[in-house]
């Protein structure tokens, strides 16, 4: 308990202000507690509940700002204003949306599997919320620092993909089933490059705990692990089915995919889960590759985390706004033929480096960065050459003005019986 109180700022502030006579708190100079001695267990439960409340509301508040920000950005990308009616700059639009969806009729399709149909929206939200519990938001600001943090994150995020399968299967809708199958294909393919991309980071920091990974980043790992960042970012985008990998709810093909039959709050929960997944992905990318809460010291660490988070979210929105969707075979090909090889290159270079310098300092890390960037650029170029589509051979000659007349098949003009008239009258 005392260790936790020393390290974890959130726990310290809440627990010591609740419990009056805990000796650990008195040592640290807290004397304003309410609950008398002998009731430490009550203080513990109360502070745990308040932390849960704080953290769920924090995430939800983040999601509201994210939905607003994403829609405003969409507007900017598309030459329009975006939502601007409710609240200053339209910041209350997600609240209005939430109220609207709450009052919609809740529909249960006739063919639906009732239990799974109702379970799926819960399954999409809960795992993403759990992911946030291991992410260090600032120096000492975290819920829990698991020593297997990154494995926990990878394991839990897969569950929300399963919820798409559940939703698609239980709706009793053929289009939704297609969406569910695509989701499983994405999950199976992209879990592997995602897990392998993290291995470089784990090797460098020597720990699975997210807190230790942040602390061990003398320089952000994106400088040392460009390939790892690239692969992890793309695999995470695919994992949460964002464009250009948004196969599960491809609007132009599947209408809304697994969400076709959902309405009211169940739909809202899916929507919420989707945006929370975006937030969680950005948080994990920040933690693993951008140095987490680290930054120049005079500004609070939470601010640095937030700023990096916003940057990653902007990248995600930018991708989503500008790129068309890939076809399902191309998406899977990209995972197995492209990202998988890139992670292997990354692991091998990092392993050789760790073999030479088992405990790298700042100088060694800079050397690794100098090696890894050319390797990354060359290997990405190579993969794009192998996977890229070949241009038409004659496309350049087609653009050429002098290329006419062609040796194309031409039809005899007698096929067309009408005589020319218009041109003569003048």
């Amino acid at each position: 308990m005392s260790n936790l109180l020393v390290e974890n700022m959130i726990w310290r502030n809440i627990y010591c202000n609740v419990s009056k006579s805990s000796s650990d708190c008195i040592d640290m100079g807290y004397s304003f507690g309410v609950i008398p001695s002998g009731f430490e267990w009550l203080a513990f439960i109360l502070s745990a509940i308040s932390i849960i409340g704080l953290f769920i509301n924090g995430v939800l508040g983040g999601v509201i700002v994210l939905i607003w920000g994403e829609r405003r950005l969409f507007g900017r990308f598309q030459n329009r204003t975006g939502p601007n009616r409710w609240g200053p700059y339209g910041i209350l639009t997600p609240v209005a949306d939430a109220i609207k969806t709450m009052f919609k009729e809740d529909i249960l399709p006739k063919d639906a599997d009732r239990l799974l149909y109702n379970l799926a929206p819960i399954m999409v939200v809960v795992p993403v919320l759990i992911v946030f519990s291991v992410i260090p938001v600032g120096l000492g600001s975290y819920i829990v620092d698991l020593n297997i943090g990154i494995l926990f994150v990878l394991a839990v995020t897969s569950i929300s993909s399963l919820s798409v399968l559940t939703a698609g299967w239980s709706s009793g809708n053929r289009i939704a089933i297609l969406s569910a199958l695509r989701s499983v294909a994405l999950l199976i393919s992209y879990e592997i490059p995602m897990g392998l991309a993290v291995i470089g980071v784990i090797m460098l920091s020597g720990s699975l705990s997210l807190g230790t990974i942040v602390e061990s980043q003398q320089i952000p790992y994106i400088l040392v692990q460009p390939l790892g960042f690239f692969v992890f970012f793309l695999a995470a985008m695919a994992e949460m089915a964002r464009a250009p990998f948004d196969l599960t709810e491809a609007e132009s093909e599947l209408a809304a995919g697994h969400l076709n039959d959902y309405s009211s709050m169940k739909f809202a929960l899916f929507f919420l889960g989707e945006f929370m997944a975006e937030l969680a992905t950005a948080a994990i990318v920040t933690t693993l590759f951008l140095g987490g809460w680290k930054g120049p010291g005079f500004i609070p660490t939470e601010f640095w985390f937030g700023a990096k988070l916003v940057f990653v979210l902007f990248l995600i929105v930018w991708f989503r706004m500008t790129l068309p969707r890939l076809r399902v075979d191309q998406v899977l090909q990209f995972a197995w033929k492209g990202l998988f090889e890139l992670t292997m290159v990354n692991i091998i270079t990092t392993a050789i480096f760790i073999f030479i310098w088992p405990e790298p300092g700042l100088r060694e890390l800079l050397i690794l960065a100098a090696i890894n960037w050319p390797v990354a650029i060359i290997s990405i170029w190579g993969v794009s050459k192998i996977l890229g589509t070949k241009q038409y051979e004659n496309i350049e000659s087609l653009k050429n003005e002098n290329a006419y007349p062609y040796s194309f098949k031409t039809l005899p003009s007698e096929f067309y019986h009408q005589k020319s008239e218009g041109g003569k009258i003048k």
Binding site: D246, E253, P324, L326, S384, T389, F408, K409, G422
Partner: protein, 370 residues
């Protein structure tokens, strides 16, 4: 252990978000692969051809606007050409140049819509569509100056157009031509070389030029397969014989070729418009009412006139019995005829490409169902 699998039949449409209107396809899938397609249409049938039998020749212009509502000017032009041929009307030169400018602008607008919606079907979440629609807005503003309407123009009359262009139109047209050229460059820069677009559209829905000719498919679809067939060149109506332009051809006959042909044709249309601006001279925009009365009564007979519409050969067939309204009107609608090979295009492709192929045909349900 063997797993029993069977194909699944899904109804896509009429209320599907990307069927470009109300079109229904009963698609049979084997996994992601399309096995069979049965198109069902007629949801937007308004009986335009029958309605035309109850209207005078000038009133029918408003009906043609509503057939292909993204290229009304071209519909007007085809219909007016048929009426002029039926009644032996000699059009006024200024009116003809004006309607050529209007119809080429409309072709650019229609190709912008086709390109934008093709990219929307490719899964780009609205951004290219809105950029394309922005350019279309420019053109619609020009139409508003010409005739006061933006979509259902009814601008053309037998023998010319109903109103001369205002003074503000010409500088605005010059400005818009520059803007449109820039945005075509932008489209080419961002989209034509985009790896995702290229890899998704290259080699999908390939049709041989023989099958296209046999199915009497025309327009960009036919030119994308290398058949040099453009009515503006083959059978110059209006003053197209005085105009030089390049016929855009591609040999691949896949989705990318269709997209590419449309984008390049927009450039050619810009060239045609600037030639029209050079050639236009002051004068009346339509013959006087003594020559062409409001209520024309053609001699009994028939006429067929066709133009190169934005989607293919757009033809109007008129039969007159000597009365004030046609005895029968028939429209050769390119959207409908270009759908003939839909099944051949779709079978064997993946589900993800279904609506891309559908969009590459560039059809308009208002014209398919009429």
């Amino acid at each position: 252990m063997s797993i029993e699998t069977r194909p699944v039949t899904v109804n896509l449409g009429p209320q599907h978000p990307s069927t470009h209107g109300v079109f229904r396809m009963r698609v049979t899938f084997d996994g992601e692969e399309i096995v069979d397609v049965e198109p069902v249409f007629g949801y937007l049938h308004r009986g335009s051809e029958k309605l035309a039998e109850e209207r005078t020749y000038s009133q029918i212009v408003t009906l043609t606007d509503r057939m292909d509502y993204v290229s009304s000017m071209l519909n007007n032009q085809a219909y007016i050409l048929a009426v002029e041929k039926l009644c032996n009307i000699v059009p006024s030169p200024r009116g003809v140049w004006l309607r050529m400018i209007a119809s080429e602008l409309q072709r650019i607008a229609s190709h912008f819509v086709a390109t934008g919606f093709l990219l929307q079907d490719l899964g780009a979440l609205g951004t290219p569509l809105i950029y394309c629609m922005r350019e279309r807005e420019n053109i619609l503003d020009l139409f508003e100056m010409l005739c006061g309407a933006r979509i259902t123009n009814s601008y053309l009359r037998p023998g010319g157009v109903f109103m001369d262009a205002p003074e503000v139109f010409w500088p605005a047209l010059d400005r818009s031509l520059g803007d449109i050229e820039k945005s075509i460059d932008e489209i080419e820069e961002y989209l034509s070389g985009n790896e995702i677009i290229f890899s998704r559209t290259k080699g999908t829905a390939v049709l041989s030029s023989e099958s296209l000719v046999n199915a009497s498919i025309t327009g960009p679809m036919l030119r994308a397969s290398g058949v040099d067939w453009d009515l503006r060149h083959r059978n110059p109506y209006d003053y197209y014989s005085d105009i030089t332009f390049k016929r855009i051809l591609h040999t691949a006959s896949d989705n990318y070729a269709r997209y590419w042909v449309r984008v390049q044709e927009m450039r050619e249309s810009l060239k045609i418009i600037s030639q029209c601006i050079k050639n236009i001279e002051p004068g009346p925009v339509r013959p006087s009412f003594d020559d062409v009365p409001r209520l024309v009564r053609p001699e009994p007979g028939d006429s067929y006139a066709a133009i190169e519409g934005s989607k293919g050969e757009l033809g109007f067939y008129l039969v007159s019995d000597g009365g004030i309204s046609p005895y029968r009107m028939h429209v050769r609608a390119p959207s409908l005829i270009n759908l003939t090979l839909l099944r051949e295009m779709l079978v064997g492709e993946l589900f993800g490409d279904l609506f891309v192929i559908f969009g590459s045909v560039d059809l308009n349900m208002g014209e398919v169902d009429r």
